[in-house]
Symmetry: C2
Subunit: 236 residues, 2 copies
């Protein structure tokens, strides 16, 4: 049964975390960002939708409709063989994903600290202040956490959980790729202190299906409409 | 086996969502905020902890250690009979919880838009701007979403999911209680437009175990150290 991913076109955003899992698994899927699937606005919260999502992305799979990025990955994890079956390690992968989503929220707030109703141009001083804190405190704290998890993984530091690839590894790659795009100066400095996380992200980019995907036109580039934005004045 | 909840004392915060589920179920639990359990700092990410949480709350249950509020509730849901067993409705309850956690993050940002490293006093103008947007756009949008879910629940509008209480109902109660504390003027206006959500929150407060809990000294009051803060200048 085809997976149908629904998300805005024109930016990788939160949809990209689901997309990477589907691509790594070689899954049969459609993507609304590529014109696939049904009518996104109707499936989002149109009449007759009993489980409307608060916001995209959401996934349709047969009769199932599921929203919230981390929840989509929780659903896909076992099916795509990108998460353990046992409850406790499965929830640990999910916990890491939830923390990555928290990081993503914080990245969004670096350029929109006063909120999404105002343009970046209308909150530049606030964004500069928040970004300085994000670079100084938050990037190091998140990277250190990933580094600790990798260092303490009883099965070794090649994966975040256990001895096999999980969707959390793919999501860490995407988070680091986005941070590298948005904050290249800060990340050059900080990533040097997180060699395990840096190495994992590089290995993910070299996986055959991910590499082919990244080189395809299905991979939407980071840009200044998305969550990870490069405003040179916010980096340093 | 005793559940051990670990969270900061002195504020209800994110820990309260787990606490309400444990209280409603009459579960055997300890609470670090009441001096219970082991050494929170060691269990958080001390040496030997393979699955360190990024931040409290986290839960210990035998050998299991689980972090992220919504993930804790996902683990507790079936065990406390506060979530369906079947995968799809279980993930729908989780999706609602994740969206409530997004709301909680946004509430935090109303008084800390520039970030948690600065005091509120050092970001008052930014907080005023963000709060105005939050009152105008976000409170109505979240309440409308809860109202839609209740109206469309095929089993009726007494619960968010199906015909039985779930932890999402308890969490909606807590979110509304917190918003009422932080933004009494805005909420008096907005809650009138969300009668189903308002009614559900009132019914939760009257459930015997919840009522007894709310009247006990285990219930920590909202205050200006927490996530839901009442600063009159941010309401209106």
């Amino acid at each position: 049964m085809t997976y149908e991913l629904y998300y805005w076109g024109g930016l990788p955003g939160r949809g990209e975390f689901a997309r990477l899992a589907l691509e790594e698994a070689g899954a049969d899927y459609t993507d609304s960002a590529q014109g696939g699937g049904g009518d996104m606005m109707r499936l989002w919260d149109g009449p007759g939708i009993d489980t409307p999502s608060f916001a995209p992305p959401f996934l349709r799979h047969g009769k199932v409709l599921i929203g919230q990025t981390a929840n989509i990955l929780l659903y896909l994890g076992e099916r795509l063989r990108l998460a353990p079956r046992a409850e406790v390690p499965k929830l640990w992968v999910h916990q890491i994903q939830l923390t990555i989503m928290d990081l993503v929220d914080e990245v969004h707030d670096t350029h929109h600290p006063v909120g999404g109703d105002f343009y970046y141009e209308d909150q530049k001083p606030e964004a500069a202040r928040r970004s300085a804190m994000f670079r100084k405190s938050r990037i190091p704290r998140f990277l250190e956490w990933f580094e600790t998890i990798l260092a303490r993984n009883p099965k070794g530091d090649r994966h975040l959980v256990g001895a096999r690839l999980s969707y959390a590894d793919l999501s860490l790659f995407q988070a680091i790729a986005g941070l590298n795009y948005a904050f290249p100066k800060a990340m050059a400095r900080e990533l040097a202190k997180a060699p395990r996380a840096s190495d994992l992200a590089m290995r993910i980019a070299e996986r055959p299906r991910i590499k082919a995907y990244l080189e395809s036109d299905r991979r939407q580039p980071f840009n200044e409409d998305g969550i990870f934005r490069h405003y040179p004045e916010l980096d340093g």
